[in-house]
Symmetry: C2
Subunit: 340 residues, 2 copies
């Protein structure tokens, strides 16, 4: 891929195809874009591009369509993420600022992202594993029934019911509460388990069966990887714009959206620092999703990627626009988590 103009042609093809959803021919290309050459020249370039596998013709008498490889080149080299306009920035900030708690923040982000990109938006809740413990609350619902509430730095609140063998007095509960909190407040979840274990172990006194039980329940809640699979999905109705191929494209995607584990794997490792990951078509391990692309990035307070967020759509999607939106929302979301 030496020739400079050929790259312009590829870029033009991608842009046109994304816009019109139809195979693009040489003539239309020259007209719509200001490349100052004749259709015949473009045809030569297109033949070369096809030879190299960047574009393909659905059938002899039709125009060309970018291949996954073509989109890949486009994304990697032919485009820069266009910054959001001031108005868009204001809209994002205004939309997210009204949130009252983490659930609200996440669901607003999802809606925002799906509206900005007109794609399906996916936002993962901040992972437990790397957040820190803010507070642990023990509430006696009944004499032998405790509610454990685990409040994390990201605003996440996890709860567990715990049935204990003997009645618990308000005093023992209070002392256990302070003991636990001094031990784990501010500690990263991953290390909080150890801290808890040291509380539970020291003595073998009878009331420490309570401490052990509570500690174990908390550790379990912290290590519950199911919780890491919590995600919010929005904009599904944008799938309607998938146009053709309901069965081959939309159905598998709908199924993937239900399988949160699959979806998270699809979005990949959270990347920090404004880096946006793009997975195009069959680049992933999922055969059925060969017609869908994922644009994702990580977010979290202070440039530490706690979770992933992104959009899922047809390979024929507006990559620059999506990447910009994803990056912008991740940035604002991170900022909000910073403040909270």
């Amino acid at each position: 891929m030496q020739n400079e103009r050929r790259l312009s042609v590829l870029r033009a093809i991608v842009e046109d195809y994304v816009k019109t959803e139809e195979p693009v021919g040489s003539k239309a290309l020259v007209e719509r874009h200001g490349l100052g050459v004749s259709p015949a020249t473009v045809r030569n370039d297109m033949a070369a591009l096809e030879e190299e596998g960047y574009i393909t013709a659905p059938h002899t008498s039709a125009g060309r369509v970018p291949t996954d490889k073509g989109y890949r080149l486009f994304v990697d080299r032919l485009t820069t993420v266009k910054p959001m306009t001031a108005a868009e920035k204001r809209a994002i900030a205004g939309f997210l600022d009204g949130a009252v708690d983490l659930d609200d923040v996440v669901s607003r982000s999802t809606r925002l992202l799906s509206q900005l990109t007109r794609q399906v938006a996916v936002v993962q809740y901040p992972t437990l594993s790397r957040s820190t413990v803010r507070h642990v609350e023990l509430v006696a619902l009944a004499p032998t029934r405790l509610l454990l509430v685990l409040i994390l730095s990201t605003g996440r609140v996890e709860q567990r019911l715990l049935e204990v063998a003997e009645e618990v007095s308000e005093e023992t509960l209070a002392s256990l509460r302070t003991k636990i909190n001094t031990a784990v407040a501010g500690v990263v979840i991953a290390e909080a388990g150890d801290a808890l274990r040291t509380i539970a172990e020291p003595t073998d006194a009878p009331q420490d069966t309570l401490a052990t039980a509570v500690a174990e329940a908390l550790i379990e809640a912290m290590n519950d990887h199911r919780s890491d699979e919590r995600i919010s999905i929005g904009g599904t109705s944008n799938l309607a714009r998938f146009g053709d191929s309901f069965d081959t494209a939309v159905r598998p995607l709908l199924e993937a959206l239900e399988e949160h584990v699959v979806l998270l794997k699809l979005m990949g490792e959270a990347t920090a620092g404004g880096l946006v990951t793009v997975r195009i078509g069959a680049e992933g391990p999922y055969q059925e999703l060969s017609q869908t692309s994922v644009v994702a990035t990580g977010y979290g307070p202070g440039d530490e990627a706690l979770a992933t967020l992104g959009v899922v759509g047809p390979t024929r999607m507006d990559y620059p626009g999506s990447m910009a939106a994803v990056r912008a929302v991740a940035r604002y979301l991170s900022r909000i988590l910073d403040e909270a």
Copy 2:
């Protein structure tokens, strides 16, 4: 609608059409069902049924299809909700029993319901308004920053951040905590507001600005109707089985599923005591959803309907099966809330 056989014919048409998804003719009807009459006779009945508006012919040379009115009659008079099999009951109970908290219960119910009915399942979280307060927790995250945690009888946990003007000592916080809890523990949300106001008012002492602020934030959290719109949706991929008419049927439905307020209105008032509501096609106010039906019911501890749950699907759906599944899941869900 006097004739007894005509009703059987209608029932047969509905059942066949639901199964085959194709207009059903007189001959096929006689063959597949054991009505001991000739096709000609059935044709006469069908003509009468069409006259009365229960069925209609898509075009002259095709079979008949039930109208909304036909489905309505079928649901109201021609079917009884068939009870779940023992195996199904076990499956439901086993599936729901593993849940660890309310979020988990709701999401499991959603998945269960969508799998049982092969439709889109919708489960509303228990409304705040009629639950009782179990516990209020105040946590000082920073000297002037409080986290209010509101734990309700249904297992729901609401949280609010509160910034206060002056530093709060641990003692004042503790006394306020007990004061609030003795006032509102066990009280229905709707009345808790009044109880809180009496706490906030009595004195005009400086530290009571804190009490007032906390009380106000709690009242706001309790009255936040946005929270009543929390719902869980699952089984969207079942929409793929909608077959034809993506644009006229699936797209509007996907849009409705995003609009939680619309969706809740669609499911209607929660009905208690095993009563299942069925809305067929254009019976509701939403023109675009003329091809979708809703089967819903209320659930909640002790036969008090705290929220709604149900399935949404094409008018051509298995009503008896859906009604049975919806009722069964609602019942088990209610039982679990009872225990918790």
